[in-house]
Amino acid sequence: MKQRLPFTLIFVAFTLFLMVGQLKPFLTETAALTPFYVDESIVGLLEQPCGILLYLAAGLQSCFALPFLGAFIFVILLVALAYVVRWAFRVSDAWFGLCWVPSFGLLLHFTQLGYLIYTVKHPSFAFADPLGLLIAFFLIGVWYRLGDWRLKVAFMLIVPAVGFWLFGFFALLVVPSLAFCELAQLCMRPSEFHAPRAGMRHFLWAMALCLSGFLLPVILKRLLPIPIDIEVGHVSFTNDLSALRRPWLVAFFSSWIFACFRFEGSKRWMTAVASVVFLAVGSCAYLWSFRDTNFLATLRMKHAAEVGQWEQVLQIARSEEQEPTRAQVCLTRLALFKTGRMGDILFTYPDGSADYRAPQPNQWLRLMIGPLLYYHYGKTGFAYRWAMEDLVEYGERPAYLRYLYRVALLNGEDALAHRYARTLARTLFYKETDSDLEAEATAIRPLLNYTDQLDGDNGLVEFYLLNSFALSEGGSREMVELSLMNGLITKNTAGFWSRFMALLPTWEEHIPTHYQEAALMMSQLQGGAPVADLPIDPAVAQRFQRLVAASSRMGDNAANAALLRPEFGDSYWYYYFFVEGLKTN
């Protein structure tokens, strides 16, 4: 126990630090993508192989909504796994450090996912493997402790047949693994089987296990009325992402090493070797966990936006030092619109189009924040559409149901909203009521003042929103301002003056700075505009004159962008002349 405690404490501290300290937004998002409903019928769960295990795993995974609670449960499971490995393979305390390899593997298996949490079609990708392997290793341990041959025969028959129904893939793994273990022991440790009869007995068991392990699944597959996916319960990836299986493979097949070699004894060097392996595997788990700053910042911004904390969204946007992704830029702009400061400071915020560091291309912006953006910008049809498309593709995740509910409420589809509210009420952490959302809906309603049309966005959310507003005419005050700003962002100046003049009476004494900047620039470029009659701030006008003077000295080509950036980088002028080539998704 004395030797085990340090490993346990280090593992617990490390995992909690990684998960709660660094990946907290990832955990929160994982919970929102977990379809868990408290009142599923047991009969329904038993109708599918692995239904019970997946349901339990999904329930535990949904606890990530309270990140510390979820992480704590996850850690407990991984610790239990290490102790079960020790028990199953009779690993001595000196070698105990090795028992953590499967736990680190499963930790990494989850934390490496990053953007892929949106596209993995699995109800509980974090917890299914730890639970499943815990059961699998436990069953292996039980086998080694079965003395009576009749019990062993019963084990061979029951584990694949009944176990498959309860634990899916994991039960099927047990028997062939045991067959391997028995054979491995014969080959690797022949000296232990002095008597030929003992050796023969092991050999026969191995053969019987082989038959049982391989034949029973085949028989099951033929007999069962439903298709058997051999990977039921286990997170599967497409072929091009097979590298992501590696931590899992390490987690599982490391157990075979325990079967081949007997990790006994209590020498110091054993502890040292085990400690080195422990540290090495832990370091790998840390290094290869997906801790991408943009990804985590986007999630933090998204979560703040979802509860209407727009100032926090802006704080996160301002605090990030690396080039933002378009998702971050879109969330920043939405927050600026919501706080009414879009016209004053939008171009002072970081802009960019950093790549989404995902292992495969996808419409990550749409997957992460598509429904959120469409909903808040009043494009309710598309918010509903993409929430529904993702629900169809990836399951009844609360993340999608929330927007289906919100849009139904905004549309006045009360019965439909009630249906979704009822579904959300069956989750552990995502209950919502109409009154919770009223203020949010009130802010969006002015954006619904437009004529419906049939349209398509091809999943290019930012592109669609920009052009939709930039090319729209009329509408509420909020819509006209969005038209004006999106016209500026897309550098489509065609409707600038009409929108500007329509909004002028609403600005009272202060015209937002960027609109002043744009007015001065338009006047300079196009001429004929009544800038002199506008209440332009003298500081803005003087700054513009300085830009004109500087440009006349240096020109406005891209080479001068760096020189002009310190003084004018936060102005619309700089954006208009020098910011080019940004992607919009």
Partner: protein, 552 residues
């Protein structure tokens, strides 16, 4: 002595069991306050006409209370009592009671106990029809039709119980690199001969023909037709299937709560000869969009819908996206000579366009007397149209009394009266009613409705009496009272079956995995060729033709 003792013990055990069981059966309270209005329940089937062999109409009581008791009693005597907020009847007891009530009323008394004691709400009433309903239905379970699809299932459900099984599921052969859509499971003659078909799209695509416990895959796309077969109509006596072939697209509303518009940018009709694996074209005009074929029960007439497309722009897709609400479908028919297998010229059966409406999914009753269809403001995919309602057009060949309210007043120089199409008001709601079908005895109409929340389609069943009147429908009963509330899927393209589908999912999967036989194109099935875009083109002003629909 020992023998005697054991008998005694058994006797005591039986007596105890019966006493316990009797004690468990709830009894109607002896004192209560009468409430004049019926209790709120879901689903609310009060006033519906039900088949004597239907599964128990379980429901949930929405009134607040501490204890609940429901008593179903027959007007002919006999009753059934269950306790609990969810009134879930035993199937055997229910069937016995319903059978006993055949041709009479079944009353539902609901008792709710709150702080003031028991209350009895005004009785709800079902009328139990004399005629039974077909024992099975088939439908597709789908998330409300969007572009993506996962976990589609074609199911078979018993109408007499809650048993449901999957005929085929699209995930069976799907992997991450190839998806499958499955649709349009259509039995031939209510599956009397265990024949049905459905389509598989995308990966491993083809049309699957199920015949007993065998299945075969056919590729119905030829170089001469615009697509593989889509909406099927199986000829009642010959192994022929009329299909529409469609270029269909799905476009999304930015704001409208109808959300999706499914548009045909082109469509024609074909006739597939299953025995010779050959295809002939029926309607093949560029400016008329034909779809949703349906045979008359004698097999001598093919009904279908068609819209004349007035091309306004070069880009037809963009034009239709912008003017989707300008496309109006009428119902037409062509005579079919079963010997020569040739179609005569088309004739207008129901002019929806002149009413500013659009008809879809014509279905003739098994006795040939009625044409049931959906009427909405525009288009043909009416499940997304809130204006979609069910209508019926009498097809009576008999003389019609001109003083009937259902007739068009005679012209001064004519003694002939035409029948009006009639809205089946008891079936309709403010939400979409669509895809409908007749039971094999013609007394029951199964249709889809979005009346519950405007988005998720549920199945409703209505009694259609011999006088051509539809009665208040009831929702397809479910074992659990809240099953429909919790299900985030729609019931789609339901059909009645008189017997179960025999082929197993594994057999069907094996067929889908195999190669398809390619159908060959053998020319036109028209008796006389018709010039493109001129056949029965509507010439007169729609307003002038308003109200002049022709009864057939």
């Amino acid at each position: 002595m020992k023998q005697f003792d054991s008998h005694k013990i058994y006797a005591w055990m039986w007596a105890l069991s019966i006493t316990l069981l009797a004690g468990c059966r709830p009894s109607v309270p002896s004192s209560y306050i009468e409430v004049e209005y019926p209790a709120a329940v879901t689903p609310d089937n009060d006033g519906a006409t039900i088949p004597p062999n239907i599964a128990p109409l379980n429901f949930r009581i929405l009134e607040e209370g501490n204890e609940y008791l429901t008593c179903a009693r027959s007007a002919k005597g006999g009753q059934l009592t269950v306790s609990g907020r969810d009134a879930c009847f035993d199937q055997g007891d229910w069937h016995a009671l319903a059978e006993q009530t055949r041709g009479d009323s079944l009353y539902i008394d609901i008792y709710v106990k709150d702080g003031t004691g028991w209350k009895r709400f005004a009785a709800q009433r079902y009328f139990v029809a004399e005629e039974s309903i077909d024992p099975y239905i088939t439908y597709r379970l789908i998330r409300p039709s969007y572009v993506t699809y996962e976990e589609l299932t074609i199911n078979e459900r018993s109408t007499e119980s809650f048993d449901e099984r999957v005929i085929y599921e699209n995930m069976r052969l799907e992997d991450s690199s190839q998806g499958q859509c499955i649709n349009c499971h259509m039995p031939r003659n209510w599956n009397r001969d265990a024949q049905s078909q459905f389509h598989v799209r995308q990966a491993l695509g083809g049309t699957i023909f199920i015949d007993g416990n065998k299945a075969a895959k056919v590729n119905l796309k030829t170089d001469s037709t615009m697509s593989a077969g889509v909406y099927p109509a199986w000829h009642p006596t010959q192994n022929l299937i009329a299909y529409s072939v469609n270029e269909t697209g799905q476009v999304f509303h930015t704001l409208d709560v109808q959300k999706v518009e499914v548009i045909d940018y082109a469509s024609d009709l074909i006739l597939y000869d299953a025995e010779n694996n050959s295809i002939q074209s029926i309607d093949r005009t560029r400016c008329d969009f034909e779809s949703f074929p349906a045979w008359s029960p004698d097999g001598n007439t093919l009904y279908y819908i068609s819209a004349h497309y007035y091309q306004r722009a070069e880009d037809i897709d963009a034009d239709l996206d912008n003017n989707y609400d300008q496309l109006h479908y009428n119902i037409y028919a062509r005579d079919f000579d079963q010997k020569t297998r040739k179609f005569g010229p088309r004739r207008l059966v129901f002019d929806a366009e002149s009413r500013g409406k659009s008809a879809s999914v014509p279905r003739v009753s098994p006795d040939g007397r009625y044409l049931l269809f959906t009427l909405a403001d525009y288009g043909q995919f009416h499940i997304w149209h809130k204006s979609a309602d069910l209508w019926v057009l009498p097809l009576s060949p008999r003389p019609v009394h001109c003083n009937s309210a259902a007739t068009i007043p005679p012209s001064p120089d004519s003694s002939t009266c035409f029948l009006y199409p009639q809205e089946l008001t008891p079936l309709n709601s403010s939400e979409a009613e669509s895809y409908h079908t007749w039971s094999s005895n013609g007394r029951w109409i199964l249709f889809s409705s979005r009346r519950d929340d405007g988005n998720y389609t549920r199945l409703y069943i209505s009694y259609f009496d011999n006088g051509g009147r539809a009665h208040k429908p009831f929702r397809l009963p479910q074992r659990s009272a809240d099953a429909d509330d919790l299900l985030l899927r729609s019931y789609n393209a339901a059909e009645f079956l008189v017997r179960q589908v025999k082929a197993t999912p594994k057999q069907i999967a094996a067929t889908i995995r195999g190669d398809a036989s390619n159908a060959s194109y053998t020319g036109s099935a028209l008796l006389r060729q018709e010039p493109d875009c001129t056949a029965v083109t509507i010439n007169t002003d729609a307003a002038a033709r308003r109200g002049e629909s022709v009864g057939y």
